[in-house]
Symmetry: C2
Subunit: 384 residues, 2 copies
């Protein structure tokens, strides 16, 4: 059987997820083809990617002479992300952008009945209800790229979602998992950026240290797997080998395991419903690993997890406000302006002042986001 390669639009192609996606595609050229690349400010990297993959479409936040040359040399057309999402020669959209930029392309592709491989947290945290609605309306599908959500997704293949009793996200615990409250009070940005397992950007690494990243993942899980927050649980697992678990109605638990390597969940999302015969990561040798540890997250030390789960359960514009306040608070922490323990304090104060809108449309979500950024910025360091 000769299969045409799957034509993929990679949004956020110069970021960590985007680059690893291109790495997966590079290994399987007979199965996957890059037809569109969207980057932010890294135009030099994008020009190189255009030269290598010769996509039909490319876009970045600005044009440069180098990029223009690459576009011309490879017959690549300048085209924005929303257009890529609906272009007739795109089979799958991979959303590896950070922030709200991935939102409308995601919704447009889903409304058109397309599969969207999603690595973008904010899209689901801010507007999961809108994404879900587009998916149901258009018959598209979401394929998670995050290692945790990919694990859950894989555990659900061949299962019925109404038989989910509990989704159990594993958390490495971040850089400060063994710190007590007084130690947390004095940690530096440099310490926060030293994640024990995954190498990631600054914002997400701080979010890992505060467990806000895990909190956002609980909200993503709600929308990806259509379960209420009371069915979502978090367990600490420092080795990051068990990527997450699902407990079913009969008490049986399934888990997905592997060495921590983002290329595996990326490849899963691209190849579904098949599995490619090429492991993108070294195989896991469980006997060599020896032991796996599990524990309960300490919400008193890491209140961000509680704040995120409460926002997700409340719904409305609360999750968008929570995410925006976190982004501001993390930036203020990284700038040396506030202490690490002030991050949850700023988020909580912002949430406390917020009046949520029920079932907000995109405009209301973005308004809540902007409002939260103003409020979170205005809270004095001493008050947090």
């Amino acid at each position: 059987m000769v299969t045409q390669p799957l034509r993929i639009a990679v949004l956020g192609s110069t970021g960590s997820i985007g680059q690893q996606t291109l790495d997966v595609i590079r290994q399987l050229p007979e199965r996957f083809q890059v037809v569109a690349l969207a980057a932010g400010t890294r135009t030099h990297e994008l020009a190189k990617q255009v030269a290598e993959f010769r996509p039909r479409y490319a876009v970045a936040e600005r044009r440069t002479a180098e990029l223009d040359d690459a576009l011309t040399a490879n017959g690549t057309r300048w085209c924005d992300m929303d257009e890529m999402a609906v272009a007739p020669d795109v089979d799958l959209l991979l959303v590896g952008t950070a922030g709200a930029a991935g939102l409308t392309p995601t919704i447009r592709a889903l409304e058109l009945g397309r599969p969207v491989a999603i690595a973008n947290k904010e899209v689901l945290v801010m507007a999961g209800h809108l994404v879900r609605r587009a998916l149901v309306a258009g018959g598209g599908s979401l394929r998670p790229v995050d290692s945790e959500h990919s694990a859950i997704w894989q555990c659900l293949w061949g299962e019925e979602s109404h038989e989910i009793r509990r989704i159990i996200l594993t958390a490495s615990g971040g850089a400060f998992r063994d710190y007590d409250e007084s130690q947390l009070d004095t940690v530096t940005p440099e310490q926060a950026l030293n994640h024990p397992t995954w190498k990631m950007g600054a914002k997400i690494t701080v979010d890992s240290a505060s467990l806000m990243n895990k909190g956002m993942e609980t909200i993503e899980a709600m929308w990806l797997f259509d379960v209420p927050m009371e069915k979502v649980d978090v367990v600490l697992h420092r080795e990051s080998i068990v990527h997450s678990l699902v407990e079913f109605s009969d008490g049986s638990i399934k888990a997905q395991l592997g060495v921590p390597d983002m290329r595996l969940p990326i490849q899963c999302a691209l190849a579904y419903p098949e599995r490619m015969p090429l492991p993108p990561a070294p195989p896991l040798d469980l006997a060599a690993v020896g032991s796996l540890h599990f524990g309960r997250p300490d919400i008193s030390r890491f209140p961000c997890l509680r704040l995120a789960m409460e926002s997700g359960a409340e719904g409305g514009t609360y999750p968008a406000v929570m995410a925006a306040a976190d982004e501001v608070a993390v930036a203020r922490f990284l700038a040396g302006e506030i202490r690490f323990t002030a991050i949850p304090a700023i988020i909580e104060q912002t949430l406390d002042r917020h009046e949520s809108t029920a079932d907000p449309d995109l405009e209301a979500v973005l308004a809540a986001d902007a409002w939260a950024r103003r409020v979170a910025t205005s809270i004095p360091a001493g008050a947090a």
Copy 2:
């Protein structure tokens, strides 16, 4: 939707698996119904089961007045296991018998296109190729009941069997997992019968201590999941929480976990493709468990594992000879006649003397079994 209860024939109803099967059925009377019960020598227990479940058919190795009364009082017909397997009012056959007795009912039900929930090791070890052939010919299906094979089966739901890279059976390691070779030389039957996790019969508990039980499970896995022995692996896991794992072509690993309780895999096998909304066992609290350990089995201390895997890979009548020699050797050990370390020696000597038949029919399998019993019995204790 009103569903008719699934009509189940329970072969081996007074044994451990049979009793736990009845326990599962008892909890879900609107879904499952006992229509046939087959026991061995425990006629008193069978009479009580007949009175409780009022099956259409029952059988035991002998009739007693008490049993006859129960049959008459409940309108139950005396009927052998082969007849039960093909009775028109049986939807599913559960084979919980030990030894070769389950073989022909299994084959008959499969030839008729029926699902067979199988807990019987010997059937697959001795004649897996015949069972597989009946399954393919009749369009029936095998649903494993063993916790390890149920785990693998559950991990394969929604997956393609050609994408299996490796089946990883977990082994608790048995009663002597921490003993060195000289300690193994002097263990008593009493020590061998003290299994760390599962409460089972004497033969299977000794087989657990020698790792022969795990070896037989590797052969079962070959036939249940249609994979060659080189794709089957064993990892030590003393907690018996991870019941087994599957590694797929892309390197992703799935595992099934739960507290050790046979009622969960039994319920899975009966309920498939659904999961019942009633956990038969207490839920697993991974954070409370705390840690899970994995290691490599030591084949030099536990040669039975190697003997079984080699027999399985060779095929023919070797697995039947291996299983029969083991049964004799274990009985001789339990009778105080030979040392624990003589068990693999007797099996190996019996295998060495055997000339295997390729693709043996049932008669050839049973002849090899009888031959192996004679040889294994004749090997002097001093020579083993």
